[in-house]
Subunit: 318 residues, 2 copies
Amino acid sequence: MAVIGIDLGGTKTAGLVLHQGGIAERYRMETDASSQESVMRGLLEVCIRLQESAREKGIGIDALGLGIAGFIDFERGVVTDAPNHPLRDAPVRDILAEESGLPVYVDNDANVAALAEARMGAGRGSRYLVHLTLGTGIGGGIILGGRIYRGALGAAAELGHMVIREDGPPCNCGARGCLEAMASGVAIYRRVEELAAVGHASPLVEEFLADPSAFTAAAVCRHADAGEDLAREILEGAGRHLGTGIASLVNIFNPDAVTLSGGLLGCFHHMEEAMNGSFRETAIAISRRHVRILTGTLGEDGGMLGAALLPSEGIAHV
Amino acid sequence: MAVIGIDLGGTKTAGLVLHQGGIAERYRMETDASSQESVMRGLLEVCIRLQESAREKGIGIDALGLGIAGFIDFERGVVTDAPNHPLRDAPVRDILAEESGLPVYVDNDANVAALAEARMGAGRGSRYLVHLTLGTGIGGGIILGGRIYRGALGAAAELGHMVIREDGPPCNCGARGCLEAMASGVAIYRRVEELAAVGHASPLVEEFLADPSAFTAAAVCRHADAGEDLAREILEGAGRHLGTGIASLVNIFNPDAVTLSGGLLGCFHHMEEAMNGSFRETAIAISRRHVRILTGTLGEDGGMLGAALLPSEGIAHV
């Protein structure tokens, strides 16, 4: 079986062909997110390019899987709402199936990343796995009994929007003190912004003030690497919040593994010890001793690989 | 099919016979929790009494289900650890099966309460249901795809030990700011205790100081019913914390229903509005609009009925 897996990102549409357990082809292009039509045209182009280059190697494509950030009605293949793309109640599966002639499966990007880590990545062999994508925001995917858990409407696994500090800082979702508001790239940015606002003087804050729009969590990591205490404290704080969130999830799911992926892993060496500390303080012994907390091994390929695994999952789910 | 369902409580061992969807017999006795043997003898006595009275009506018992507070290895029928009983790595299923000659199923009390509400109670028709038992502590049960979710080792659904306020008050589990430490009977008791310690003067605090060992959340409810502002604020605070916890669970599970049971429902009229307020502020729209938050309709029978439903669940699970 050969399957195309596509990760529809805000800036890149990236695809691969998964064939006999390995990556046979790759293709990526800019995402034109100006309209639903332009997004769909881009997806179709990546699909056709991969189909053609696979055919040259004698590989026939059997199906197409797609991962997208947003709320997905998996059974109908409809993107209900997507934060980074103009897709609203968009029948993405049916459009792509008609244009490509392939069976098409569409799911949330963090769900498919979880599936990839459980089947091929750090969590291989886990039947119960919780996955967190740590980036600007925090996404979640849940594998239960070996299958993606989607909930009643496909809106489950919003693990970044579990509250860990009531009355904490505001989150993009409108609530307060969500894990995402405490331990994501945005949370780290806001912490620096706060320190700048109160006139805190440090090389880190100076860099922020020089160009706030260009500043990211990666800069905090650089300052921490250079030995700046303030930067280290900020990342350790984020790690501590992350450990509390993971402990809650471990108490809820009693999983075999928790896997982590995303850009924030670049700062993970400054977060890990604090994360482990608060995790140990909070998780219940029986579940804590069983679970492994692992950084994902698939990196940016996780989304594409997980999308390519969707057809073999079929539409049956928990 | 006729099944005995037993709820092993800290003070009472209560059982019933579920026959053709109705309760055919009941029997209850004091729990003698002095040893594993005494607990097992009590369970067997309830089972035999129910079997005998059913036989007099011409009803033959097919199986026995049992709900116990604690960590249960469902597949092996072993109680790993129980807070209220001297059961540690106790092979409860095999002991009862040998003595009674019946197929025996043993599960966590909150899991079976969730199953009962999903099959026969307030959540009837829900395939995805989150259940909270609100009492001295907070227990949790999760129904996914119509079945009990137990996790890798049967330790899942410790929903009372989801942290909602990092650095909040200490919880009995050793962590801080768990839902149980914020919104349970114990949490309410501790809040009054705190106020008493700082010399707060009010009828509520006076009643507490007169006999702290006899004081319970029910007293706070009485003072709130009598119009005492302090008592109302305490219960509203607990309601607000509960709403935050429910919102997190709704964001995680995207369930059809959340059901609530337990002694604290006696105070629910002082908690509900605040609970709904923080729930609305925190839950994500798509999941919030879909879910119903319901008080359970089975009351104290929930545990026995859920235990009696276990055999029809079989041992397959998510």
